[in-house]
């Protein structure tokens, strides 16, 4: 969506997409858990060209006090895109309309699974920094934040995972890249609770027919199973490998 028709690339050719993927194929995903020293939980995700860092702090005393609840922990979420994260001009850093919206939808997705009743009067803070973006950052952000929360030991009913589906050249495809997002017809990020199959985040840009939507959700569900396996693998590695080997190596 939003791309200029004049320089639109051929998005789908013989069933292959611009980056050579099949319609139901995800980009390569790499997750490393516990990358930050001082956060209670953290995760780093490389999803195609997306690079996202998530940190979780808490439960800690809720500040300001008027936000605190006697019944549950307050979940706070901050999604932020680094000024250097994308090809386009992002201008000044800090929250803008888009990042505030994403912070809100991500927070609401996690409020469904975090067992907040165990920690009255506290806050749980989730910080998500997009270091490099290439389409589908909110799904990668949700995936990273879920791993960070699990790493922090915060009780959750499920490990959330998210995946976008969309339509390019009249075909429903999974996990849109930046070009497919910009020049495609539709983009639909969905976050699931895989245990129950509940949809926790659902947004749509562009138009889809009823049938395409059903097909899209089905594709995203399949993809989310694969992502969940990668998330679990990342958490297991924290306990299997020594700290130094897991540490981030910037290539």
């Amino acid at each position: 969506m939003g791309g200029n028709a004049a320089n639109k690339p051929e998005l789908l050719k013989n069933g292959k997409r611009v980056d050579g993927r099949r319609v139901d194929e995800l980009r390569p995903i790499k997750i490393v858990a516990r990358v930050l020293n001082d956060a209670d939980g953290s995760a780093y995700v490389e999803w195609g060209k997306n690079k996202i860092l998530a940190g979780v702090y808490g439960p800690s005393e809720c500040i300001p006090r008027h936000d605190q609840s006697l019944y549950r922990a307050i979940v706070k979420c901050r999604y932020n895109m680094a000024p250097f994260s994308g090809a386009e001009e992002h201008g000044r850093s800090g929250p803008n309309r888009r990042s505030k919206e994403l912070s809100k939808v991500i927070r609401e997705a996690f409020e469904n699974v975090i067992i907040a009743e165990s920690f009255p009067k506290t806050q749980i803070e989730v910080f998500i920094e997009v270091l490099q973006s290439d389409g589908g950052t909110r799904c990668a952000a949700v995936t990273a934040a879920a791993v960070a929360l699990a790493d922090a030991g915060i009780p959750m009913k499920d490990m959330i995972c998210a995946c976008a589906v969309g339509k390019i050249e009249g075909e429903v495809v999974v996990d849109l890249g930046k070009e497919e997002d910009n020049f495609g017809e539709s983009d639909m990020p969905i976050a699931f609770s895989p245990r129950t199959g509940d949809v926790l985040l659902f947004q749509m840009d562009g138009l889809l027919t009823k049938e395409e939507l059903a097909r899209g959700i089905e594709l995203a569900r399949g993809a989310s199973e694969k992502i969940r396996a990668i998330q679990f693998e990342a958490i297991k590695k924290v306990y299997e490998e020594p700290r130094e080997e897991r540490f981030l190596i910037i290539k």
Binding site: G58, A152, G153, M156, K157, P194
Partner: protein
Amino acid sequence: MPGEMVSDKADRIAYAFVDNGKTYSTVVGLFSDGKLVPLEGPYEPLAEDMIVGIVAEVKFSGYSVEMNTAYTAFLSSREIRERYSMGDAIFACVSMIDEVRSTELSDAHKLPSGRLVKVSSVKVPRIIGKKNSMIDMIKAATGCEIFVGRNGYVWICDGANPTLAEKAIRMIEAQAHTTGLTDRVSRYLKENGGKDYSPSHVPSQPQGIGSQQGAQQGSEGGHSPYGSRSGGQGGFQRHSRYPPRQHGYR
């Protein structure tokens, strides 16, 4: 892993919840023998926990004590005979905790000069070991008195080799989920200049505050709690038996 099934019946298991007649985990943990042991997580204070805390504020009627949680505990002046100042380390018992986590402490003792090591509270049972084996070994090898709080604060009193004790505790924290840890720690202590120690001759504990290690057993069952020896040592003894942690989620 959060959301993974631990039982296909509706069981009441700590750190798990029941949905639709089945039981699922809420944390990253190890599941065996119907018990879920979390590998990470915040400290949730329970009554009768023995904790190491830091005096955060001196008030008219008592002290606010910081104890590795989102909640500061209150220690009333009525409960104690000493005076503290800000920053003092104390060893105390959680006497009361209510539904909004207002916490009160009792049976406090000021700790002698030493150093504070912060570990994750879920690793505390491993630091103590079965029948205090681990902590007794470190104490004997390093010549330091050590107080382990259930909240994950470990106070190492000044002694022969507190640095080695700290390193050993950090090692246990890093490898808490592995087996054969006692042997490895024992070897590590020996190689790094710890005093010779074999489990057969546990040094007899001196009477007094030093022997009143009231730290608690966690979810690993079957150990005798700290100080289960008979004989009145006053104060701490009545709190030494730790009830099984019973908080399930519904």
